[in-house]
């Protein structure tokens, strides 16, 4: 079932939570709503589900306008951040709930429950109570419960937020697998970029109630359309720089830079003296040992698979880069070493 949202706006008191958000989601897509906490992502989800109402705007599910209809008429599966399992019911009764209230015959219920338990890997646990389950198990029950009545749309609100890292990775992979099998249109909310990119087909970046960009993970990373997206995604250096002779200058360091979003690539480069925000990804930099270089290393940190080198440019700006551990560029680099810096790719955003 496809989803269309047009001009959604909502305020809580004087705080504007959603500001004219519009987007479209194709049937069968797995989409992530990504953004910092409090940006309005969960609100969008709840509005689609009918748990909250927008002050303005329209929501269309499967070609029909649903603004006036109650949650239970919308047939959306919803997985809550803290599971919201029915604490007084067994796992089996939780999963069967949607079927039971819709009057499904007992036989059908039992079959579905068995099927779903197998699917989420919780066979044998049907008589347990939620309080007897681990976080990861509870989340899987929540998912099974949402899927049981065969919804056309699956909404997940920070589904993996409350479990620890290892379990989270597993659940992510497993959500993706599930989606590949069943192709239910799904939207999930997260503030974790890695999660958004690892799991979804498309990402909608939401910040302060606005849709900053919608696109595939690659598009978001390579071709950010706004400064926020550029600086929010990945590990980046952000500098205040000035344009001179077609290049962006930060202290002694200069580089050619793509100006603004991809869509404006044919625009005139800004003139000399224009101040810009220069965004350089941590892997778009080269450091090497050079006594006549422009920066001094402050710290070298081993992050497991990668090494992070933090340095200070002559002139005071901090700068950092990350390298694979075996990189030859790291030879001879220690705290205090003087290094040369080369920027291989950068994007500049003119400041207003």
């Amino acid at each position: 079932m496809g989803i269309r949202a047009r001009n959604l706006s909502k305020s809580f008191g004087s705080a504007k939570v959603l500001d004219d958000v519009s987007f479209e989601i194709e049937p069968g897509e797995l989409v992530a709503l990504l953004g910092p906490s409090g940006g309005g992502k969960s609100t969008i989800l709840r509005i689609i589900a009918g748990l909250d109402t927008a002050d303005a705007g329209e929501v269309w599910l499967g070609g029909a306008r649903v603004d006036g209809s109650h949650t239970r008429e919308r047939h959306v599966g919803f997985v809550f951040q803290h599971y919201a399992l029915f604490r007084h019911m067994t796992v089996r009764d939780n999963i069967a709930f949607g079927l039971s209230v819709q009057g499904a015959p007992l036989e059908h219920q039992n079959r579905r429950v068995a099927h779903l338990l197998e699917l989420v890997g919780l066979e044998g646990l049907q008589d347990r109570m939620p309080s007897q389950l681990s976080g990861g198990q509870r989340q899987r029950v929540a998912l099974a419960r949402a899927l049981a009545p065969e919804p056309k749309l699956l909404l997940l609100d920070e589904p993996f937020g409350a479990v620890d890292a290892k379990v989270r990775e597993e659940l992510r992979r497993w959500l993706r697998r599930l989606h590949d099998e069943f192709h239910v249109t799904s939207i999930f909310v997260t503030h974790d970029q890695e999660e958004a990119f690892a799991v979804s087909d498309r990402v909608l970046v939401i910040n302060k109630g606005r849709l900053e960009q919608a696109g595939s993970p690659l598009e978001i990373v390579e071709h950010p359309e706004t400064e926020f997206v550029a600086s929010f995604v990945g590990e980046v250096n952000v500098f205040d720089a000035a344009m001179r002779g077609g290049k962006a200058w930060v202290g002694p360091l200069s580089t050619k830079a793509a100006i603004g979003p991809l869509s404006e690539k044919d625009r005139e480069p800004p003139g000399d003296g224009t101040r810009v925000r220069l965004v350089v990804r941590s892997y778009d930099l080269k450091f090497w040992r050079d006594d006549s270089g422009t920066a001094v290393v402050k710290r070298v940190i081993t992050l497991g698979d990668r090494v992070r080198v933090e340095a200070v440019l002559d002139g005071g700006s901090p700068i950092f880069a990350q390298f694979p551990r075996r990189s030859s560029l790291l030879t001879g680099i220690d705290a205090g070493s003087r290094i040369a810096v080369e920027i291989t790719h950068a994007r500049a955003w003119p400041m207003a």
């Binding site: 029909a64 109650h70 036989e107 579905r112 065969e150």
Partner: protein, 293 residues
């Protein structure tokens, strides 16, 4: 992996049936119905009678009110009520804190029994409480006769009034302070200890402050409850005017004498005090919620 359909049987869930676009209007109707019904019930049951009382009481005019409460018996009754309630509030305030402390933080034998005993006044009819005290301290018993030789007749004397109030209001402060005590974080006390504070200092500066609003709210409740207390006093104090007659019992007397107006007048005064206390208690509770980090 092949694409599998979720559907595995002939039962069709609503999601797959033709769309149903009923509105959320029915739900709103129920909401309003429940709200209206409940509000109506409370209005008729509570607001109406109280309104009648207030109107009747005020109908004697400010002069009449003044005369009603300054009539000698009435004035003494009001004073007795206020004084005894104050004593009960202070006593059960302090002891309530101590009892809650023991119940929440210390592991003593018979903790459950103590807790049950503290709850007893909630369960027991106040009149029965009065009867208990008469049974114990009435002049016909050993304790009573012993005491009376020392000129301390409890039952039928002011002491009996206070004792009855202590019994009836014991649980209030305990139950008000308990939840706050439970929520106190041990870590804060431990921090204070590592910083060199003595037990007393830790109690005074770390533990007491968060307890104060709840303690105050509970004490105010004790005071209000004591002012209103009737059942236990009807049996105990023997209702001797000027000596052991409290305000509520006085009101009953006026009603029985066929003087509803004067009864209503005194009631209005009591009601006003009760309302003021309620407000005080509510603001204290709000203070608790606000200070909670």
């Amino acid at each position: 992996m092949t694409t599998r359909e979720l559907q595995t049987s002939s039962w069709i869930p609503r999601a797959a049936r033709p769309a149903d676009t009923s509105t959320a209007r029915a739900r709103n109707r129920w909401t309003l119905l429940l709200r209206g019904g409940f509000a109506g019930y409370v209005t008729v049951l509570v607001a109406l009678p109280l309104l009648a009382l207030v109107v009747r009481g005020l109908s004697v005019g400010p002069r009449g009110l003044w005369e009603a409460i300054t009539a000698p018996v009435a004035a003494d009754a009001l004073v007795l009520s206020l004084v005894t309630s104050l004593i009960a509030a202070v006593a059960n305030g302090l002891m309530g804190l101590a009892i809650a402390w023991v119940l929440v933080r210390w592991d003593i034998p018979g903790r459950k029994l103590l807790s049950a005993l503290v709850d007893l006044p909630f369960a027991i009819p106040t009149l029965v409480a009065g009867v208990l005290l008469v049974a114990l301290y009435g002049p016909q018993t050993t304790a009573g006769s012993v005491l009376s030789t020392y000129g301390l007749q409890i039952a039928f004397a002011k002491g009996g009034v206070v004792l009855a109030l202590l019994f009836v209001t014991l649980p209030f402060v305990v139950r008000a302070v308990e939840p706050v005590l439970r929520e106190l974080d041990h870590a804060e006390e431990e921090a204070a200890t590592t910083l060199g504070a003595s037990t007393w200092t830790t109690f005074r500066r770390v533990l007491l402050p968060p307890l104060l609003p709840a303690l105050a709210a509970g004490t105010v409740q004790v005071f209000a409850r004591s002012l209103a207390e009737f059942g236990s006093l009807a049996a105990v104090s023997g209702n001797i005017p000027h000596r052991t007659l409290t305000a509520p019992v006085y009101v009953l007397g006026e009603v029985e004498r066929g003087e509803p107006a004067s009864a209503a007048a005194v009631s209005v005064v009591l009601l006003a005090v009760a309302l003021a206390l309620q407000l005080a208690s509510r603001s204290l509770v709000a203070l608790v919620d606000k200070r909670r980090v």
